[in-house]
C-alpha cells in the first residue's frame, strides 16, 4: 500500500520537476520578450491539463479541489483562469489556429463586455440557487425538473471547466477506446439521454470552439467558475487580501494603448487606471499586457509586494535573469 503511495508521489514529483525545467528552459532560451510569458503560460496550461487528468484518476471527490482552488483564489484572484484552466487552454489553442489562418478576432464592445461580466454572477447565482428553489417540487418525474435539479448539480457545473480532454473514466464520447470529454460534456450527457447526448455535446463543443475562434476567450465571459474565483475580490473589505497583484506605475505609463489592445479578456482598466493596483475581476492575470508593455518597469506583477514579472523594453534582447 505505502509503496504505491510513494510511487505516486514520485510520479508527481517527476512531473512537477519536468514542468519547472520546461519553464526554466523557456526563461533562458526564449530571447523574444514579446512571447516569453505566452510560451511559459502554454507550458503551464498543458502541464495543468495533465495534472487534472491525474487528479481525476485518483479521486472523484473533486469538490475538494474546487474548494481548495476557491480558497486560493482569495489570494491570487483569477490566476487559475489564465494559467491553469484546461478549458481556457483549448480556447488559447483555438486562438493559435486562428493566428495561423491570419484571421482577425472580433473585438467585443466594451459596454457589452462589462455587462457580460455582471451576467456571470447572475449565472452563478442561478446555478447555486437551483436545488434550493426546485428541490421541494414534488413531481420528480417531470423531465425539466430532473434536468434542472439533479444530484450535485451546482458542483458539476462549477467543476466542468477543469475536465481535461481525455478522462480516466467511462464517458459519453469514446474514440478508439479513448474516453474523450469536454467541459460541461458530462453534465450535458447525464441529462440529455442516450440519443441526444452526443449530438448536444458536439453542438456545445462546436459552439464554444467556433465562437472562441471569433472572440478571444469566449467562454470566460460567461463562465460561472471564473465568477466564483473573482467573487470575493469584488468586495471592498476583501480587496486587501490578494497577494498577487497587477501593478501600474503612473509616471512610466505613456498611455500608448498596447495593453488595452492585446488583452484577451478585453480589460480596459489597465489602460484607464492612472496607476496603482489593478482590481478588476475581469483580469485573469495572463500577463499578456505585462509582456507587451514596451516601457521598462511600467507594469508589474507583484507577489506579496515583491515583483515577479515586470514589463521590459522588449526591443532590447533580454539579458539572462
Amino acid at each position: 500500500m505505502w509503496l504505491q503511495v510513494v510511487s505516486e508521489i514520485l510520479k508527481l514529483t517527476v512531473f512537477a520537476g519536468l514542468t519547472l525545467a520546461g519553464i526554466l528552459a523557456i526563461l533562458i532560451w526564449k530571447k523574444d520578450l514579446k512571447t516569453k510569458i505566452t510560451y511559459m503560460r502554454f507550458l503551464v496550461q498543458a502541464a495543468s491539463m495533465v495534472a487534472f487528468y491525474l487528479l481525476f484518476s485518483y479521486t472523484t471527490e473533486l469538490l475538494l479541489i474546487l474548494a481548495a482552488i476557491f480558497v486560493l483564489s482569495i489570494f491570487w484572484g483569477r490566476l487559475f483562469c489564465g494559467w491553469l484552466c484546461p478549458f481556457g487552454f483549448y480556447m488559447d489553442l483555438t486562438a493559435v489556429v486562428r493566428k495561423a489562418f491570419k484571421a482577425r478576432y472580433w473585438n467585443i464592445p466594451d459596454k457589452l463586455n462589462k455587462a457580460l461580466d455582471k451576467l456571470r454572477y447572475a449565472i452563478l447565482a442561478f446555478f447555486l440557487c437551483l436545488p434550493f428553489m426546485l428541490g421541494p417540487i414534488e413531481p420528480w418525474q417531470w423531465p425539466l425538473v430532473k434536468f434542472l435539479v439533479g444530484p450535485f448539480k451546482p458542483m458539476s457545473v462549477l467543476l466542468s471547466p477543469v475536465e481535461p480532454l481525455v478522462i480516466p473514466w467511462e464517458s459519453a464520447v469514446k474514440l478508439y477506446g479513448i474516453n474523450l470529454s469536454y467541459p460541461y460534456a458530462s453534465v450535458i450527457a447525464y441529462y440529455s439521454g442516450e440519443k441526444f447526448a452526443l449530438l448536444s455535446i458536439t453542438i456545445f463543443a462546436f459552439l464554444t470552439l467556433a465562437s472562441s475562434f471569433v472572440v478571444r476567450r469566449f467562454w470566460c465571459r460567461f463562465c460561472p467558475t471564473g465568477a466564483t474565483f473573482s467573487a470575493l475580490n469584488r468586495f471592498k473589505p476583501f480587496s486587501w487580501i490578494p497577494i498577487l497583484r497587477l501593478h501600474k506605475v503612473e509616471e512610466k505609463c505613456t498611455k500608448c494603448g498596447i495593453c488595452r489592445r492585446v488583452c484577451p479578456a478585453t480589460v480596459t482598466e489597465v489602460y484607464d487606471r492612472k496607476g496603482g493596483d489593478i482590481k478588476t475581476s475581469m483580469c485573469m492575470l495572463c500577463l499578456r499586457c505585462v509582456e507587451m508593455c514596451p516601457y521598462e518597469d511600467c507594469l508589474r506583477l507583484n507577489l506579496a509586494g515583491k515583483t515577479v514579472f515586470r514589463s521590459r523594453n522588449w526591443l532590447e534582447p533580454s539579458k539572462i535573469e
Partner: protein, 443 residues
Amino acid sequence: MEASAGKKYGVELPPKEAEELRKAMKTASAKLMNEYVERMRKAWPNRPKVMQYFDDVARFFDTRERELLKAKEEGKKVVGYTCMFAPIELILAAGAIPVRVACGVYDAVKLGNRIVPVEVCPVVRSTVGAGMVDLSPFIELSDALITALTCDGMTKLSEILSDKKPVWTLNPPRLKDAPQSTRFWREELKTVKTKLEKLTGTKITAKGLKSAIEIMHRATRAFKRLQEIRRSNPPVIMGRDAMLVNQTAMWDDIERWTAKTEELCMELEKRAGEKVWACPPDTPRVMLAGSPAIWPDNWKLPNIVEEATPQGVIVADEFCFGDRFLFDPVGVDEWTMEDMFNAVAERYLLPSTCPYFTSEDGNEDRVNWLIARIKERRVDGVIYHVFRGCMLYAIEYMRIKRALDKINVPVYYLDTDYTREDVGQLKTRVEAFLEMLKSRVEV
C-alpha cells in the same frame, strides 16, 4: 479632392530675387552648419569617430540632397511630413522615403513675415519663408507633404504649403483617450494610406507593412539604446551630439542611420566601461523642455547651455524633434493587416505628449512623461524653452512648473525667437541658472 488652381497665399517673389535670396541663405546656412559642427567638436575633444557620419548627414545641403535627387531619378517618391503624427511605417511600406520638413533657418523667418504675421511661431514662419525661395531641399524634393492639424500655426502652414505641393492633412482628435477618437484617427490614417498607394503605385501589403514595422523597431531600438546611454552619470556623450544624432534620424536613410547609431552606442558603452567621461562629474544635468530646437540655426539654446561657464550638459529633451521622435515602438499583437494597422495608428496618436492634446486631467501624460524622464536621467534642472508665439507650450508652463516643484526640480522659463540678437542676454540668464544648479549639486 483636387486642390483648386491658383495660389491661395502665395506672395510671388521675382524669380531673380528669389534665386539670389536662396543662394545667400544657402551659403549662410551651410557655413553655419559647418561652424556649429566645429564648435561641437571643440567642446568635446575625444568625440567618437562615428560622429563624423552624423556631421555629414547634418549638412543636408550636400550629401542627403544629392542622395534624394538620385533616388527620385530612380523613380522613388519622397514624402515629407511636418509633425510626428505622420505614420512613417506606412510611408516606408509604400516604398517612399520619409523626410521631415519643418525648418530651423533664421534668415527664412524674415521672408515668412511677408505672409504670416510676426506673432506666429517662428517654426511656421521659417518653413513658409523657406518654401518661398525653395530653400529647404526636403520641401522641394517631396512629392507630397503630410501635415498634422495640431496647433493653429501648423494648421495654417499646411494651407500655405498646399500652394506648392499636394498636402495631405491629418486631423488628430484633441481628446486622444476617448474610444471614438481612436476610431476616427484610424480612418484618417486609412485615407493617407490610400493616397500613399496612389502616389507610389505600390499597394501596402501585410508583408510590406510588417517589414516596415520591423525596420522601425530596429531604429527605435538603436534610438532607445542611445537614450539609455544618456542616463549615465557622469555622461559619456555630450547633449548636443546626442540631439544631433536624434535629429538626423528624421531625414537620413533610416536603416543606415540605425546601423551607425548602433555603432556609436557600442563605442559609448565601451567608454562607459572604461570610465572615459565626456565632461566633469559635477556638470549640472539639464533637460530641455517645450518648443523644439531644430537644426541648423536653432541650435542656439543647446550651444549656449553646453558652452556656458559653468558648463551644463543636456541629458534629456522633450522635443518632438528629439527624444520623443522614436521613443514609442509599435506593439503588434497579431501580424494581421488590420492589427498591424491599428498598432501603427495607435502608436502615433496615443503616446504622443504634444501640448495640443487635452483630457479631463489636462495633458497629464506630458507631466508623467517629463517626471519619468527627469527621474531616470537624474536631471538637475529643466530649461523650459518656448518660442514667442507658441501658445500651447507657453500656457502649459505653469502646470509643468507646479508638478516639478513637487519633486523639487527647478524650472527656468526661457522664451526666445528665431533671432541671433538675444544670444548674449540668453547666455547670461542660462549661466545664472546653471550656477544655481551647480551650487545645488554641490550641496
